[in-house]
């Protein structure tokens, strides 16, 4: 995007310390700079990802052996895992099951509320959205900092609940179980309070992004000149604003229920537990798209830049984001086919298929964009291709779950578990990793070790599929979710899945090493390492305090690779065939 880039007015990068150690700490703790807040979110989210990941590995270890805690309690059959979650004989029958329930609740609640929902918008979105729009900051910088502190406080409530003994409700907090379990303890209330608080953080980020997109685009940037990542963040932010208050009132009523026994969700007092499910999924289904839409935005952007080709069907991708946001509000019933009338189930089943349309539009457009592109097969692109593969599996396995007749067999089995892990992890987390590598040089001013990052991506890909593809078979054969023990026939598939989860661990450790090594020994990143045309590649790497020396003026589209030469780009980094090179310069 053609604008002046004057090094005479260089102000120093946002990462430069403001003074001594404590001065720097105070500077970060009180900063209203969207870039620093984005980095702070990144650190917090990665920490929670680590916690949730440890819980997941503990679950997989427990499932390595069938340990029939109920049927076979007297033999103490466990070899490895009985020691892990406690021998069922030692703590009485069900003690191991009880711990298992708490660990999978911990894993689910942390991964959903504290990792996947905020992951992309709050970290990469916060950092990049204003720069991509050519703005100096988000619309409400102080609100942005507040949202980070609210996130930390909410997470602390959740961690406190875990320290006090954990919660065994599952991340969905279904009533009446959640209103009666652990009745003498505050931990369920604390966990619910944590999720309620995190909702505020989410709403504040959502409001900030919607207003930023409306009001802070650079001169010359119309709605259809925005990068698709910005479009996706915008669609996700609308859902955040409109869906989160409903979970707010739901969790508030749940807390009233536990503290005052008001009975709104308690059948013993005339209340309706199914009402809780409606309220819960009216939020929690749309929020699935808060999780995936920003990921889709990353894929659109990374895919176009790394294949140096104009994205195919820009408007179709942009509008399909809004389409998904719209449809997301009318499909919540498919989470509760078992608790609705037949007619309602049929209606929700039919509506659910609508989601496939905008989603497929995106996937087909992405694949068309690759056609005849100059593809740079680096880590962001590898992760993008992984996303296309795993997300498509995740999306397609949603269809048998939306179909009532097949769902009768598959619901509440490992098939569901595998499906949503393919969408949430194979979709959101893979896109997050693609974006993290793509914008890493921009965020921290250092290149990372490309071959090692690609190796990490491949290990993650293999580990992910070994872990979760086996679970489709488990589910189709009838293995129910949320059980610590199972019949012997499932053992082989469970063991494959557990081995896969440790391959995943190795993959993420490789990435951790790559990122740490990048800080220590990484080559200094150029302003535009990949040859992108969007505004963030015009800023320094890392960007200066106010992002740009002058307000940029937008004179071309975000993906006009056929007519514009990228700024500050050394094509020898990623050679492009002569016939694909742009001839016209700005």
């Amino acid at each position: 995007m053609a604008a002046t880039h004057d090094h005479a007015h260089h102000h120093g990068s946002y990462l430069e310390p403001k003074g001594g150690f404590w001065t720097t700490v105070v500077d970060w703790a009180t900063t209203v700079d969207h870039k620093k807040i984005g980095v702070m979110y990144l650190v917090a989210i990665l920490f929670m990802f680590f916690l949730g990941g440890v819980a997941a590995l503990a679950l997989r270890l427990e499932l390595f052996e069938p340990v029939r805690t109920v049927v076979d309690a007297t033999t103490g059959a466990s070899k490895i895992t009985g020691q892990m979650f406690g021998n069922p004989d030692a703590g009485g029958i069900g003690a191991g099951n009880n711990l298992y329930n708490r660990i999978f609740t911990l894993h689910g609640a942390i991964m959903v509320f504290m990792v996947i929902v905020p992951s992309i918008p709050a970290s990469l979105g916060n950092f990049l959205l204003p720069i991509m729009l050519g703005a100096k900051d988000v619309a409400f910088p102080r609100l942005n900092l507040l949202s980070w502190y609210v996130y930390v406080v909410g997470s602390l409530f959740a961690v406190a609940a875990i320290i006090l003994g954990g919660v065994d409700t599952g991340w969905t907090f279904y009533t009446p179980y959640s209103t009666t379990t652990d009745a003498d303890y505050w931990r369920v209330t604390l966990m619910v309070l944590g999720a309620f608080t995190l909702g505020f953080s989410s709403i504040l980020t959502g409001i900030n992004f919607v207003v930023t997109v409306h009001k802070l685009r650079a001169p010359g940037m119309g709605w259809f000149d925005m990068p698709l990542f910005a479009w996706a963040l915008y669609a996700a932010a609308i859902i955040q604003v409109l869906a989160t208050p409903v979970i707010g009132i739901t969790l508030l009523l749940l807390m009233f229920e536990r503290i005052f026994r008001v009975g709104i969700f308690d059948p013993a007092l005339g209340g309706d537990p199914v009402l809780f499910q409606h309220f819960f999924w009216f939020y929690s289904h749309p929020v699935v798209y808060v999780m995936i839409l920003p990921g889709m935005g990353i894929i659109s952007d990374v895919l176009a830049v790394q294949s140096h080709k104009k994205i195919f069907g820009y408007r179709a991708i942009a509008f399909s984001s809004l389409g998904i946001a719209g449809v997301s509000f009318i499909v919540w019933g498919h989470h509760m086919f078992a608790s609705m009338s037949e007619l309602a189930s049929m209606v929700f089943s039919a509506l659910t298929f609508l989601v496939a349309i905008p989603t497929a539009i995106k996937v087909f457009n992405w694949i068309s964009s690759l056609y005849k592109g100059s593809i740079a097969l680096n880590a962001p692109m590898v992760y993008t291709l992984i996303f296309l593969f795993t997300f498509s599996i995740g999306g397609l396995t949603g269809l048998p779950l939306a179909t009532l007749s097949t769902d009768l067999h598959l619901h509440d089995t490992y098939f569901v578990v595998a499906h949503f892990h393919y969408v949430m992890m194979g979709g959101t987390i893979m896109a997050f990793m693609a974006g993290l590598h793509h914008w890493w040089p921009k965020m921290f001013g250092r290149m990372y070790n490309e071959p090692l990052a690609i190796l990490g991506a491949l290990v993650v890909f293999i580990g992910f599929n070994v872990t979760f593809f086996s679970q489709f078979f488990l589910g189709a054969r009838g293995m129910p979710r949320r059980y610590a023990s199972y019949v012997d026939e499932f053992q082989l598939l469970h063991q494959i899945s557990t081995v896969g989860s440790f391959i995943l661990l190795v993959g993420f450790l490789i990435h951790l090493f790559v990122f740490l090594a990048s800080f220590a020994t990484g080559r200094k990143a150029p302003a535009n390492p990949w040859g992108g045309l969007t505004l963030e590649w015009l800023a320094d790497s890392p960007p200066e305090e106010h992002n740009f020396p002058h307000e940029p003026i937008v004179t071309h589209g975000p993906y006009d690779f056929e007519s514009v030469v990228p700024h500050h780009w050394d094509p020898s980094d990623y050679p492009i065939p002569e016939e694909h090179r742009a001839v016209a310069s700005h």
Partner: protein, 259 residues
């Protein structure tokens, strides 16, 4: 009184010295954005109360008799008075925005003080004449509802320097499992009180938040933060207060006027 504070005569007032955030091109642009953001926030508030209204309609359709009986235990005169009080406060809030825009600071402060007093009055009526008698059986002696309720006053059981008197069998109308009122005709009546308390308590919480915000605006108007060219905070606090009023406008007929 002149529009300029005498302590700062000769210098510019704070609102005249206001500089918009560095990422905005002008104050007008910033004002537009803040208002837009605040309307988004108000939509979240509407959705929050949407959950309460949704629960209200579902349980009303399930237990119409309990709702009819429960509503009769509310005195529409107190609810009506509170509605009038909030409507007056909405007017004074709007008037204070106008006054700040026109630089009529003492009138703005007067209007804000009246708004605050209305909020206090609303809460006082809510607590003294509605929550306390229903929850505990202690009855405010000046309550007109006493005259049309066949109840016996227990001599000698008073609270708060005799302002409250205990009325046999009048209280105990609490939500859910806390309900212990002996005269309930309908087994589902506790659900009515759950919805009543949840809805009005969350609304009262919003009244309190609104009053805190208005108090802050009052202090800052007094210090000269807001004036004809910069009154963003006054305006959005006004929007918030109108929303709090609006929600009551819906709660009042749904709770008090359905028999």
């Amino acid at each position: 009184m002149s529009t300029l504070d005498t302590r700062e005569l000769g210098t510019l007032q704070r609102w005249q010295r206001y500089i918009h955030g560095h990422h905005w091109r002008s104050s007008a642009e910033e004002f537009d954005a803040v208002k837009f953001g605040f309307w988004l926030f108000l939509s979240t508030e509407v959705l929050l109360f949407g959950g309460i209204f949704c629960a209200y309609f579902i349980f009303r359709s399930l237990y119409p008799a309990a709702y009819a009986e429960g509503s009769q235990a509310l005195d529409w005169r107190w609810g009506g008075l509170n509605t009038v009080i909030l409507l007056i406060s909405s007017y004074t809030m709007a008037a204070s925005i106008y006054c700040v825009q026109k630089g009529l600071f003492s009138r703005a402060k007067l209007n804000l003080v009246i708004t605050l007093l209305c909020g206090l009055l609303f809460l006082a009526i809510k607590i003294l004449f509605e929550y306390t008698p229903k929850w505990s059986g202690y009855f405010f002696v000046l309550d007109p509802a006493l005259s049309h309720h066949a109840a016996t006053v227990v001599e000698g059981k008073t609270a708060l320097f005799g302002l409250f008197q205990y009325v046999e069998g009048y209280g105990g109308k609490r939500p859910g499992s806390l309900f212990d009122h002996p005269f309930a005709q309908n087994a589902d009546i506790p659900m009515w009180w759950s919805v009543y308390y949840c809805g009005t308590a969350i609304h009262a919480l919003h009244v309190i938040i609104g009053m805190v915000l208005i108090f802050r605006v009052l202090l800052r108007v007094n210090k000269g933060y807001y004036g004809p060219t910069h009154y963003t905070m006054v305006e959005i606090v006004g929007l918030y207060w109108h929303l709090v009023d609006l929600i009551w406008i819906f709660l009042f007929p749904l709770l008090y006027l359905i028999h």
